[in-house]
């Protein structure tokens, strides 16, 4: 097990290295002089000079990369041009908000996706199976920014049940915090709920047709026991690892959700940075999301091995 983790960690090194080069090169996409672009609307020659020094823009590209990656490895992701604060501080400020949203969205997706998937597999070919499939496909196809706007229209504007926007920290008031993120979490989780439902359904169908389920039935066990103890336990392992993998993707989806519901998280940070041409922040957010994603894939891999006794050897 330890050897497996060590091997996966070593394999990650080249991936992370290439990732850093890609993110570094993003800056090179800026048209014209990057110093002018980085300075935003301010064309003060002194500031431009300072930026050129700060980013080593007067140096050859490999030197620029080495000094940038050296900083990154020491936790220095540069400074926000607009807010004048270190990018890492800004990200760490916003990350808990997005994580809370992502965890709530994932819980929603797991509860809805697993339940719908199991029911539609057990009731294959019935109206329930048909309905669950339609809802799953709709969940996958609904653009989450539109779903968010429609939910605000119904639950906030028309019914007045839930707040249309804003965020309350759980430390301040837990109940209001959960309420403020309820709609955003449903919006963010609906697509993944659809994906999880489809995987659960096909894994359950496969398990229900397997020899061990036939044996369990032949022994005269109750159908509920066959489904829960035998089929479900085997079918759900790959689905749970899929959930871990999708968790990283939630950070991408959070960009739109946070924008619609005006939640001061990670996604809102990158969008505001894009509007203000605060490129160091954009780069920093991309880097941190990628690292979180790589970390989640590693956890998913390890979880898969842990849940599969045959792979543990």
């Amino acid at each position: 097990m330890t050897r497996l983790i060590a091997r996966r960690l070593i394999e990650l090194i080249p991936t992370l290295l290439i990732l850093s080069v890609i993110i570094f090169l993003l800056q090179r996409l800026l048209p014209g002089d990057p110093a002018i672009a980085l300075a935003g609307d301010d064309n003060d020659p002194e500031l431009l000079e300072q930026i050129r020094k700060q980013y080593n823009l007067d140096q050859p590209l490999p030197i620029q990369y080495l000094s940038w990656i050296g900083g990154v490895l020491h936790g220095d992701l540069g400074n926000s041009m607009r807010l004048g604060r270190p990018v890492l501080d800004l990200i760490l400020d916003r990350l808990p908000v997005t994580l809370q949203l992502a965890v709530m969205a994932m819980l929603f997706a797991l509860v809805v996706g697993l339940t719908a998937g199991i029911i539609s597999a057990i009731k294959q070919g019935t109206i329930w199976d048909y309905l669950a499939n339609i809802v799953a496909l709709a969940g996958i196809s609904l653009p989450n920014f539109w779903m968010g706007i429609m939910m605000i229209l119904f639950f906030s504007v028309m019914l007045g049940w839930l707040p249309a926007s804003g965020y309350v920290s759980p430390a301040e008031d837990l109940q209001r915090s959960l309420l403020s993120l309820l709609m955003p979490a449903i919006v963010l989780g609906s697509g993944i709920a659809g994906v999880i439902m489809r995987h659960t359904r096909s894994a359950m169908l496969q398990a229900l047709e397997s020899d061990y389920v036939r044996t369990a039935r032949a022994k005269g066990l109750f159908e509920s026991r066959v489904v829960i103890r035998h089929a479900m336990r085997n079918a759900l392992t790959p689905v749970i690892t899929l959930g871990a993998l999708e968790f990283g993707g939630l950070l991408g989806g959070a960009v739109l959700t946070e924008q619609i519901f005006n939640i001061p998280g990670f996604g809102k940070l990158i969008v505001d940075a894009v509007y203000n041409r605060d490129y160091a922040v954009v780069q920093g957010v991309v880097l941190v999301t990628a690292i979180v994603y790589v970390g989640m894939s590693l956890l998913a891999d390890i979880g898969y091995v842990l849940a599969n006794p045959r792979l543990r050897e």
């Binding site: 706007i149 504007v157 991309v286």
Partner: protein, 290 residues
Amino acid sequence: MAIASTAPAVPHEGQFARFWKRLRRRKAALAGLVFIVIVILAAIFAPVIAQFDPLSQDYTAIRQPPTALHWFGTDELGRDIFARIVFGARASMLAGVISLSIALAIGVPFGLAAGYLGGWIDLSISRVVDAMLAIPFLILAIALAAFLGPSLTNSMIAIGVTAAPLFVRLTRGQVLSVKAEDYVAAARSLGNPHWRVAFRHILPNVLPALIVQATLALAAAITSEASLSFLGLGQQPPAPSWGSMLNTAQRSLSNAPWIAVWPGMMIFLTVLSFNLLGDGMRDALDPRSR
């Protein structure tokens, strides 16, 4: 992937006829196809279908609900929403097709090279793909669009480049399974050069899987364009696009909700149609469902 097992025989006319026969039996896929054709026709014949200019403002008809004159109502500048939806279909379809073409143009040759040539070429290509796939799709697309500058063209480039690694990985996997087939060894032993084996013998056999994935990727590309336009990084105002229409609609949600309903409904139905068609095509190509 189930599609891999359909690969061995090069599709010819008889097989296409059989594929079409199987696809036709899937009503949901067919409904999707019909809707897509309608949207494409609307995009092409937009000037004929729309009674109003999508850009002309009418301050005497601001935020009007749907009427016999303005079928879908008017927006905050008195522009006809139906005309903007029909012209907006152009941006969505164009973005879908062009970004998908960019993704295929990059993804397929690199995937083919990685899978067929193997060795250090495969290793280097696969590592870059792994790294790119580690960045969530929308975050990378936003970052690329932000650095390239906001415009419809740049958003199409950003989406295409972001989607390319998916096609590299898919093509590579398919090539690896086809490469082991006897007919590829036979083609090689007859003295065919590598490029000929790759393009004439392997590529046609990985096409079915690629076509299915491309259909599903079109749905993703249309959503991505709408997302980028919604964030102000795609189609720039006043030109209509479904995503940017939703962005402005948010401001008048309480007094003119219809402005938000139509563009979102169009994105949803178009994306759903591509997903239904993609699913149906995958099932029709799956030998187990024959």
